[in-house]
């Protein structure tokens, strides 16, 4: 059902260096891969459009055998590295993207490469079958499932009620009163985890790091969420789903994929990786060419490993997406893919003005009041840097640029691509400002701004 069949469509367009380097798990891997990007260490390299393979001569006597399956992408290498993908896989991708003659197309995979690709396809099919079986098993005993759900709902409700009391208590004594003996929010967050409300826990934890000027707003939105959960069954179905998702209920991918899906040609608008000590979270934003719908895919990777989903910014993927339910559906999971990502016909996505962007965010808030920001393509804006920081202006209106962890070099790259001229910019438009993710240059080439 959701198995991506290995594409037989030859990909004429090879990936950009930037995209290949974005697959690297860390900076040393990028550097090591750069050194393997020349034809010298490689032999027997080739591609059939959906996979790459080649043998890389290293310091040992036997060369390493490297295979990259491009659709997913997936990697396999005989080297002992624990990095994933390893420098050989990245080096092979760089070689393929930069020196087409060194990785000739239209070749038959070497035996060892073909074996692995076949094995991998079988494994993915089995995994999909297992997922289906699991979903069916869950459906098989609806009574037990309902009992479990009811039990959890009650615990979450108790947690939400406790949070309401805590918030009101603080407001009663005054936010300025940071007296001793008052439990920190970290402790309350732990209570929310116990109550199986991880969404509340995350928001509560952030309160310890919120500037005092913004505290009331954050308290109020959390109060609204906890209160809404208290009567979630009375809410319209879509809004109820939004409240459940924000509180921390999740829906299994397999379950989502059994529901309705949206097939479209999804243009990849941008990618942002957010690493912390335990997990790297990758956000991929898409927009349907036919439906115009925005979608957000999440992928995760352990330290030293790149998240398991990578799509080149600017390209188009024909696929089915299943959206998480909600008043303003955005987050989605990837179902069946129809072929590998292709270069987009019109490279620069259509966008809106700053005024329209903010109105669009307002419309999202009207449906889901907890919306912090909304994926937006701005067009015709000039990034401006002055003593107040960075702004985006179209000459008539100005949006503040919200850094949100964006590193300084990324902002200057944005300034360089613009050179003081209007550009098209994808990012998240919210009440704190606009956080850029991707900029398109004068030739319609996208540049990621998140690193």
């Amino acid at each position: 059902m959701s198995v991506p069949p290995p594409s037989v469509v030859a990909m004429e367009e090879r990936w950009s260096t930037e995209h290949v380097l974005s697959l690297a798990p860390d900076a040393p891997s990028r550097k090591a891969a750069g050194k393997l990007s020349s034809p010298a260490p490689w032999s027997g390299a080739g591609t059939d459009g959906s996979a790459l393979w080649g043998e890389c001569r290293g310091s040992g006597s036997t060369p390493y055998r490297t295979v990259v399956e491009l659709t997913t992408p997936a990697y396999r290498c005989s080297c002992p590295s624990r990095k994933f993908p390893c420098k050989h896989a990245l080096g092979l991708l760089l070689l393929w993207s930069g020196s087409p003659e060194a990785v000739p197309a239209g070749a038959e995979p070497a035996d060892w490469a073909a074996d692995w690709l076949k094995e991998r396809q079988e494994r993915t099919e089995q995994a999909a079958e297992r997922r289906t079986a699991k979903a069916e098993a869950a459906a098989a005993d609806p009574a037990a499932a309902r009992r479990r759900a009811e039990k959890r709902s009650a615990r979450v409700a108790a947690g939400a009620q406790e949070l309401r009391l805590r918030l009101a208590d603080r407001v009663r004594h005054g936010l300025a009163d940071t007296g001793a003996g008052r439990p920190g929010w970290e402790e309350v967050a732990a209570r929310m985890v116990d109550a199986q409300a991880p969404g509340l826990a995350t928001k509560v934890r952030e309160l310890d790091h919120t500037a005092q000027g913004d505290l009331l707003e954050e308290y109020a939105m959390l109060h609204l969420l906890a209160t809404a959960y208290g009567r979630v069954d009375e809410l319209p179905e879509a809004l109820g789903a939004t409240v459940r998702a924000r509180v921390g209920f999740t829906t299994e991918t397999a379950e989502l994929l059994t529901g309705p899906t949206v097939r479209d040609r999804w243009q990849v608008l941008g990618v942002r990786d957010t690493p912390d000590e335990r997990l790297t979270t990758r956000r991929l934003w898409l927009r349907g060419a036919k439906t115009g719908r925005p979608a957000l895919l999440l992928a995760f990777g352990r330290p030293g490993q790149a998240p398991d989903l990578a799509l080149p910014t600017g390209q188009v993927l024909e696929a089915e997406l299943a959206f998480h339910p909600g008043a303003r559906p955005l987050r989605a999971v990837l179902g069946t893919r129809y072929g590998a990502p292709q270069p987009s016909g019109d490279a620069v996505p259509a966008g809106v003005s700053p005024a329209e962007a903010l109105a669009g965010y307002g419309a999202a808030v009207a449906e889901d009041p907890w919306t912090e920001s909304w994926p937006t393509v701005l067009t015709g804006v000039i990034p401006v840097h002055d003593i107040d920081g960075w702004h985006l202006t179209d000459g008539r209106h100005t949006l503040r640029l919200h850094r949100a962890g964006l590193p300084e070099p990324a902002l200057w790259r944005l300034a360089a691509v613009s050179g003081g001229r209007p550009v098209t910019l994808f990012g998240e438009c919210g009440h704190r400002g606009f956080t850029p993710v991707t900029v398109w240059d004068e030739h319609g080439r996208p540049s990621g701004l998140t690193q």
């Binding site: 750069g34 260490p41 930069g98 109020a220 008539r396 704190r432 080439r445």
Partner: protein
Amino acid sequence: MTATRTEPAAQADAWEELRTTALLGTDRRPLPAPAGSPALVAAATAVDRTDPATALLELAALTAVRRRAGARPATGPSGGAAAAPADPRPELPVAAARRLTVLLEGRSGSAGGTLANLTELLPQWLATARARGLRPPAALVPALLDSARARSELRGDVVALAGPLGRWLAERNPDWRFVLRTATDAPGTGGAGDTGTAGDTGSPDTAGDPAAPGDEHRIWHEGLFAERVTHLTRLRRTDPAAGLDLLRGTWTTERAEDRLLFLDALQDGLSPADEPFLEAALGDRSKNVRATAAELLSTLPGSALATRMAERARAAVRLAGTGRALLVTPPAECDAAMQRDGVAPKSPTGRGERAWWFGEIVAATPLRTWTDDTGLTPARLLGLPVGDAGPDGKGAGQADGTWTDDLREGWARAAVRQHDADWARALLGPTPRPGRDGRTARTAGAPAKLLAVLPASERAAWTAAFIQAHGLGEAFQLLGACATPWTPPLSTAVVAALERAARSGTYPWSHSGVLGMTERALAPEAAPAVEALASDAAPDTAWAETFARLAGTLRFRAAMLAELDV
């Protein structure tokens, strides 16, 4: 809250009321009365006020969502937005842009591995890309500028490559201020780093100054020291007389150490027109300024100082008898006039004072003096025996050879200062040949400096012959004086010498200096020969690894340079 939105003052006040109440606590302060638009007042009135704290949170939620949903952008443009000037140069080919990304990524790298340190290859890439008149993609310009922040030797090429966009960015980001004080119109001035291919590309930013025409010299009067030196250097290259005028205007108010470096900047476009100024600088308070002025004057063959030096030289050296020998009478004292002309009275070397004064005089004397006076060629002059004139001036005093080295050394310094290829050639002597053991002992001065005076092809040929005769042991500085990439004959000579070194049982690390240079400078065409050496060397030895790495680097360089062909 943010500057993103603008809202009516009444609404902002209502929010402030809520915040103040929350800050102090509902125990201490009553809930504010509902305010704002009728719809908001209606909704606020509907809020249950039994518990003031809960009611406050509900009112705040109502107001916060309303503010978010109704956010409006600030009107009007923010700040002045002058666009970067257009850059007419063609953009780098895709593969070359990718390569640049990789080279810039590698900038903090360490040596080792199967390839040379990428940071070592960056200068070559930059010089070549610049010479081809290409423009990097805008998105790479910030990383390019960053690469030159810590490596000032890259700045000339980086600033030229970054072009008008680089300057536009530098005007906005203080980290890149160096761009504004880097002169870009003399590529490859480093000598050893000279690629041989880089010439003035006529890129759009080579001329002129960022300042507006009205106050073109403002930077000279208000700028930082480095900016002022750059400004003076640029001006000297386009209009030497104007540069001199500028310097003369503020000369008396400059600090001694600044005067020294400004004087140095006059080397560009030095001409007899500068002589009166330099002649006056011989009376400067600072000893270093005086010495520099004297040195500059001595490179002006028609200058009064050069003439005075020639007179002293004629008094000190005489062609004896029938023109078969040179007799030396070193100066007996360093008089005030000599000191004013830059001769230090105390010898800073181990040599005696008279020999020191003598050497200074020869080094500052126009070399034409010797050939014109005697009618002999430099080679003939160098072949003459040199003796001490003795107390009676007849040449009986001292044994032959005492003054030979001093005279040759002085001539060598003069040849380097005056960029005299004929003399440099004669001083270097015939191309070295294997087995002849005259060696470098008879070559006066630093051969690498003399080589630098010769045309590139001659430098390479002489060095190749030297390496064939003497191996790599003493070749480091000579190789450094050769243009890169090395010519095929020089490359062949180096590869052959490496092969001999490998066979003789030495270790590669005893040649690490030469090897490092070889990775950067060997002609990429030599890759097959090096690969053959790698496969011939005993497997898993240091030499096998060294050759494999060298071959890999050569392939990398060949690929990276080929990508820049458009």
